[in-house]
């Protein structure tokens, strides 16, 4: 019971910090916007079908902006001794994992919702009717990325090569998540809906469960002093 309470206290603390500084979201959302723009110009105008390349564009833009956000989230902690402060709290390290993962999940979900809307506007896609299905994919995708990203961002923040290490560590292991998310989004974009991509949804859910459990169990080993 206490664990749940502490987790929510820590998440609300982190979100309040974010609300005041807008440090993470300002960078992720604008980076996603830049990425969408750049990727658009990688294609010949009018010569590509959004239904074919759209899902890849969307998730690539989101993945890179998520990496940026993860780095920034732990940067603040390590710069101002915040992590040491948290570690002095009389709570389990695993609770810290849940809290950080929860905060990251909220931030990434916000980022992906923003990315979806920019995508709809920039690429002139009709998606609003399929919002519930899209929301499911967005939630499963950002949950898996948060589960994995919390561990690796915590690690990277304590090393000298933070900016390069995080993508190196995270992306290879996150590739199945990316494939599944793209496949699900493609099924939604093509109008078939998620019923044709059920095994991909299951794969996303399995990814989330596996890495939430593995991240939860191994997090104390990352934070030791």
């Amino acid at each position: 019971m206490n664990m749940v309470r502490f987790t929510f206290i820590l998440i609300s603390k982190d979100l309040r910090l974010e609300w005041r500084s807008k440090e993470v979201l300002s960078s992720t959302v604008f980076f996603a916007m830049i990425a969408l723009t750049v990727i658009y110009f990688g294609f010949q105008p009018g010569r590509f079908q959004v239904a074919d390349v759209g899902p890849g564009i969307l998730w690539t833009a989101f993945l890179f902006s998520a990496l940026l956000g993860m780095n920034r989230m732990f940067q603040a902690e390590s710069e101002r001794g915040g992590l040491e402060g948290l570690m002095l709290c009389p709570i389990d390290r695993t609770t810290l994992y849940l809290a950080k993962c929860g905060t990251l999940f909220v931030l990434l979900t916000t980022t992906i919702v923003a990315t979806f809307f920019m995508f709809i506007i920039f690429f002139n896609v009709r998606l609003l009717g399929q919002l519930p299905q899209l929301a499911l994919v967005a939630i499963l995708g950002s949950l898996g990325l948060s589960a994995l990203g919390t561990s690796f961002a915590a690690m990277a923040s304590k090393t000298s090569a933070r900016d390069i290490l995080l993508p190196l560590l995270l992306v290879p292991i996150a590739i199945p998540l990316l494939i599944a998310a793209v496949k699900c989004t493609a099924a939604i974009l093509s109008g078939d809906g998620l019923t044709t991509a059920q095994s991909w949804v299951q794969l996303l859910a399995a990814f989330d469960v596996i890495f939430l459990a593995a991240g939860y169990l191994t997090f104390p080993a990352i934070l030791e002093e």
């Binding site: 304590k158 190196l168 292991i173 199945p176």
Partner: protein, 240 residues
């Protein structure tokens, strides 16, 4: 809990193991290049198979080694397990690179492309990337004890992700040749006897050579850590 290195002399491969590596490697080379018959369809390029597949299987052995050593390290915090893990990962990366290179050399004449995003290629490539990340983390991760913990966590997260990567890329699509050793018709039914024998020589040579390099690498790791320890000792004596 750090191990007192002065009590354990550094490991070296025994002369028997070195000799075994020499003999098996020569034998494997001879049978792959001379003894084994030329493949009727693929020609001589098929001979890469005797290096490619044994190296891949040895790589899987290295993955298992690194995973178990990492798990044991987190349980016991005995630096010896971490030395095993880092040596296994580095030599494993070398073997993985051999697999990718020989695969590309074979694929160009047979498939007409150096690389395709086939399921088995993709999942192996992802494993290789995780090993690259592991070695990078080693060199950037900070002080020894912290790096040891981080690397152990990385190898555990990488290992538990393997099945899910497998399914994801398998469903994506596949064109890699099916297994010829462990086929549904029974063990070794997919190959003629001389090819199977050559493959077996290749596998033994690959594993024995891996063991040799692994032990040498382990020795290097132990010596470098001992040097660091001595240096720290000297620094302490100077400052006090």
């Amino acid at each position: 809990m750090t191990r007192d290195h002065s009590l354990n002399p550094p490991t070296t491969p025994s002369s028997a193991l070195v000799g075994a590596a020499l003999v098996t490697t020569l034998l494997a080379l001879y049978s792959a290049l001379v003894f084994a018959p030329t493949d009727r369809v693929q020609g001589d390029v098929q001979r890469l198979f005797y290096l490619h597949v044994p190296a891949a299987l040895t790589m899987y052995l290295a993955i298992l080694l690194v995973f178990i050593a990492s798990l044991r390290y987190l349980q016991t915090r005995d630096a010896a397990w971490d030395e095993l893990a880092t040596s296994g990962a580095e030599i494993g990366l070398l073997w993985g690179t051999i697999v990718l290179l020989t695969g590309a050399m074979w694929a160009k004449p047979i498939w007409g492309a150096w690389w395709t995003w086939d399921a088995r290629l993709t999942s192996f490539f992802i494993l290789w990337l995780i090993f690259v990340a592991y070695v990078m983390l080693r060199s950037y991760g900070g002080e020894v004890e912290q790096v040891a913990r981080f690397c152990a966590v990385l190898s555990i997260l990488g290992f538990v992700g393997m099945p899910i990567t497998h399914y994801a890329v398998e469903w994506f699509r596949t064109m890699h040749p099916g297994p010829v050793i462990m086929t549904e018709g029974g063990l070794g039914r997919g190959l003629p006897g001389s090819m199977l024998a050559t493959f077996a020589f290749g596998l033994v040579a690959s594993v024995v050579l891996f063991a040799n390099l692994f032990i040498l690498r382990l020795r290097l790791e132990q010596q470098s850590r001992r040097t660091q320890q001595i240096r720290r000792h000297l620094d302490l004596m100077e400052t006090s």
